[in-house]
Amino acid sequence: MSDKYRNNFLREVEEKVEEGHWVKMCMQCGVCAGSCPFGPHWAHPPQEIFMMIRAGKREEVLTSDSMWMCTSCYNCIVRCPRKLPITHIMHGLANYAHRLGIVPKNQPTEHFATLFWNNLAQTGRVNELKLSLGIYFRDGFAQGVKNAMAMQSVGLGMVKAKRLNPMELFGGHGVKDKSGFHAMLKKAREIEDRRKPIA
């Protein structure tokens, strides 16, 4: 017995994915697919992903890196004739795949998004220097130095323009009430896991 065209995955998405209950409302007009600035880079554009979800293609959807192509430009949202919050559904699917740990290896956006979050979660504010270094060094130290050198002109320019502070490496900006901030995030995560448990 196959799961094809069963609603199992559709239901799973409705329960576990941000704004997932909207997926069933798509009428396959494709305006989202045509509106995405990164469209050509999507193996499966949103409208097709919605169809795949209905068709029960769970693995193909969740292991796809299509939704990681979302630039959060909201073109699809404002044009969708059914008012689907497509941007958020794409984020939701990416997040869900991330939580399930089935994202394709070395998906760069997943890596950056994770870094970004951990970076801000640490102090409550983003530390741009650490963030960028984090990116450059993702593939190990040597590669990191290369990447950093490649971008150093930019880096220095930013420093000259007083828009990057080398001192950020040691501490830098952050919220004062770190404990409260961290407790809040911990609780939020708790509630989220309660609402959308990963089996």
Partner: protein, 756 residues
């Protein structure tokens, strides 16, 4: 009627006075037109001008009025005298607006105008004021055939307007298709959920309505007569018969579901779990709101697949080519049966185009909200696998050859097939062909009527000469061919309503039935006054038939597009005025010219074309007769003139009710009177015909194809008689056609028949 007194009025307004010698026109009216009274007026259509005519009618006992002014289509109300005969000589659109305003053109323009005056006088003298049908009677009672929602609606709406109704239903109960439904699709906001059908409520209302008499288990075994005086014989299963006198009829005989047994490839008949939409309704009714069980074993239904367009929109010629318009709504509704009872049941609708117009979009959204899923795809086959079914289809979005291998239930959305009875046109076409000497169709028809051949059952059993049912359009629907006139019927006083007219859902059927009831009531009222229905609404004339001259050739009975003419016991044509639409096709058909109307006859037109002054052949002034359909060609000529599109001064235009009314004698007369050519302008015919009298222009074509012999006998070129299809928008083409034809005539030369 008092002695005839003809008065001619010539207007000088709108430039007529400047462009034409109106005094000369007055002289023509007096001398040649033999008008007893001739007046010129600077501005005939204003209050004072009209009053002048009025006064002459009352003070001078004028009985016939010839107005030489603008087109009969202009100032119609001002000159719409109903107590005298009126003819209009079209001097404005017909002469000065379509002729160049130059000195060279003055002579031919004046000749044109003078001819139209001659024609107007000649015509009006041959007219008599329609007295109306002395035999006009009416019965303020309707017959409604079919007791489904359409029929019940027609009955109730007619009753609300104060008319009585006899409602005949072949089954034992009212409700028809709707009675088989568990629920109906919503007909009002918010278009979110299935609704109860109106059947019980309507049946109760009918029960309680003293105006409505219901015959169950009954059919109309014989219908004769005409609007206002139909005689209906009603036979019941018990064998008893009753007769009803009614003024008009609504045919609401509904549809049958396309037979799913023709769809074995979709598993029908191979598995009890493959049903059509009726089958699903039956299951839902049986479940009575509870869980719908799997037919094969009463097992639980976990997933249902709906296959849209099953045996519809078919291009192989095996099934229905059309779309039934209501099946998408129905499938969504049926999917809701499951979702509303248990959201965990999977329901997939496989469609090629979802067709849910208007606020059907809300119903579509509602279905999606409830979790009904939709897949654009084409189902290639359904196989039975034990108690489940395997649905193979192509998912066109994902471009997959996909399979659903565990459907507990598959619902085939098959289409609506009209219950329209006998297709009488096969016979009619055969007879027209036979009248034209071609018997092949007739032989084919006879074969179909031979012993053993399966004959369709009539719905109405009309005893009309032309057959027992209402003529059908494509695919057997008894629809009107006209977009602007859905209730234009080819059987006056009989109106189709509901799915027998066109595949439709309940909302449309109820609207349609109300409209049909409206038209039936109107037919009743018209019949009482002897008035024609559209397009010649209000016309009081009707065919008058000179029995003694008749040769019983039957052309009139065969060719009447409205089945108005039967045959009496001595095989003479029997005219039913109230069925007649006044197109004159019978008049055109009659080889011995014994059929005429008081205000339109072989004479009214014949006298006009004879009145024209035909110059001798050395004058280099040919004369071309244009017989123009009054509905399209004539307005096109008017509008061409409003655009100042110039055309040959050698044409003389006579408007005709329909090319079907053109009698070949007019052509013969024109040719023998020295006309150099005859142009006939009628409406498009064929599948998308635009002829307002259905067959008129087509019949004219057939008749003229036989004029060839006449021409040969007269030793004339066949180009001298030509027919043209003209549309009302041809305001540039028509002048061009005329000028090209005039040039052609110049080329082949003047007719030798002049001056005999």
């Amino acid at each position: 009627m008092a002695d005839m007194k003809v008065a001619a009025y010539i207007c000088q307004g709108c430039g007529l006075g400047d462009r034409l010698d109106t005094a000369a026109l007055a002289g023509v009216a007096k001398k040649e037109g033999k008008a007893a009274l001739v007046r010129e007026h600077a501005f005939l259509c204003n209050a004072e001008g009209v009053k002048m005519i009025r006064d002459d009618i009352s003070n001078e006992a004028v009985t016939h009025v010839m107005i030489g002014a603008c087109s009969r289509r202009a100032k119609t109300e001002a000159f719409g005298f109903t107590d005298v005969c009126v003819s209009r000589a079209n001097l404005r659109e017909g002469v000065i607006w379509c002729q160049p305003e130059t000195d060279e053109a003055r002579e031919t323009t004046q000749e044109m105008a003078e001819d139209y005056i001659r024609m107007g006088c000649a015509e009006v003298k041959k007219m008599t004021l329609p007295a109306g049908d002395p035999a006009a009677v009416t019965e303020r009672r309707l017959l409604v055939v079919g007791g489904g929602v359409s029929g019940m609606t027609a009955a109730l709406e007619a009753s609300k307007a104060g008319y009585q109704v006899a409602l005949v239903e072949k089954s034992g109960a009212l409700g028809g298709w709707a009675a088989k439904l568990h629920k109906r699709t919503p007909g009002k906001s918010p278009y979110a959920d299935p609704q109860d059908t109106p059947v019980a409520e309507m049946a109760a209302a009918i029960e309680a309505d003293a105006n409505i008499k219901v015959y169950l288990d009954a059919i109309t075994s014989k219908i004769g007569g005409a609007p206002g005086r139909f005689e209906v014989e009603i036979s019941t299963e018990s064998g008893s018969t009753a007769t009803e006198k009614v003024g008009a009829i609504v045919q609401a005989t509904g549809f049958s579901l396309y037979d799913a047994n023709n769809l074995p490839e979709l598993g029908y008949g191979k598995s009890a779990n493959v049903v059509d939409q009726a089958g699903l309704e039956a299951l839902a009714k049986a479940a009575g709101g509870g869980a719908i069980k799997r037919p094969s074993d009463g097992g639980e239904v976990k997933r249902v697949v709906f296959v849209q367009c099953a045996g519809q929109r078919d291009d192989t010629g095996k099934h229905l080519a059309y779309c039934s318009g209501s099946c998408c709504l129905t499938s969504v509704k049926q999917a809701m049966y499951f979702k509303d009872a248990n959201p965990d049941i999977d329901t997939v609708v496989i469609y090629s185009d979802l067709r849910m117009p208007g606020n059907g979009e809300d119903f579509y959204r509602s279905g999606q909200t409830k979790g009904v899923t939709f897949t654009k795809g084409k189902v290639s086959g359904v196989e039975a696998t034990g108690n489940q079914c395997k649905v193979n289809f192509h998912d066109v979005i994902l471009n997959d050859q996909a399979v659903i291998d565990d459907a507990d239930l598959v619902v085939l959305a098959t289409g609506q097939v009209p219950n329209s009875g006998v297709d009488i046109d096969t016979k009619l076409k055969a007879e027209i062909a036979a009248a034209g000497g071609d018997n092949s169709l007739m032989e084919a028809y006879n074969a179909s009527q031979a012993e053993g051949a399966v004959k369709p059952i009539s719905m109405l059993n009309l005893n009309y000469r032309q057959g027992p049912d209402v003529p059908q359009l494509k695919y057997g629907f008894t629809d009107s061919h006209f977009i602007c006139f859905p209730y234009e019927t080819r059987r006056t006083g009989i109106y189709a309503a509901g799915p027998v007219r066109r595949p439709m859902d309940m909302v449309q059927a109820m609207e349609d039935a109300t409209g049909a009831a409206m038209k039936a009531i109107q037919a009743i009222e018209n019949a009482g006054l002897g008035r024609a229905a559209h397009p010649r609404s209000g016309d009081l004339s009707y065919p008058i038939f000179r029995r003694e001259g008749c040769t019983q050739c039957k052309r009139c009975t065969v060719e009447c597009p409205f089945g108005a003419i039967d045959e009496d016991e001595q095989r003479f044509p029997l005219f039913n005025q109230a069925r007649c639409r006044r197109c004159g096709t019978c008049m055109g058909a009659c080889p011995v010219r014994v059929i005429s109307f008081e205000n339109y006859s072989v004479e009214t037109v014949g006298s006009q074309l004879k009145a024209v002054d035909v110059p001798d052949e050395f004058s280099e002034k040919p004369r071309i007769l244009v017989l123009a359909c009054e509905n399209d060609a004539y307005p096109a000529l008017d509008m061409a003139a409003m655009n100042r599109n110039v055309y040959s001064a050698f044409v003389r235009v006579i408007p005709v009710r329909c090319l079907g009314s053109v009698n070949t004698i007019w052509i013969n007369d024109a040719l023998s009177n020295g006309y150099d050519g005859v142009m006939m302008m009628g409406c498009k015919h064929g599948d998308d015909y635009q002829c307002h009298f259905v067959k008129g222009s087509e019949l004219a074509g057939i008749r003229m194809s036989k004029i060839g012999d006449t021409l040969k006998n007269m030793a004339l070129e066949e180009e001298r008689v030509s027919t043209f299809e003209v549309a009302i928008t041809d305001i540039e083409r028509v002048p061009q056609l005329i000028n090209d034809y005039a040039a052609l005539i110049q080329k082949i030369g003047m007719s030798p028949m002049k001056g005999f």
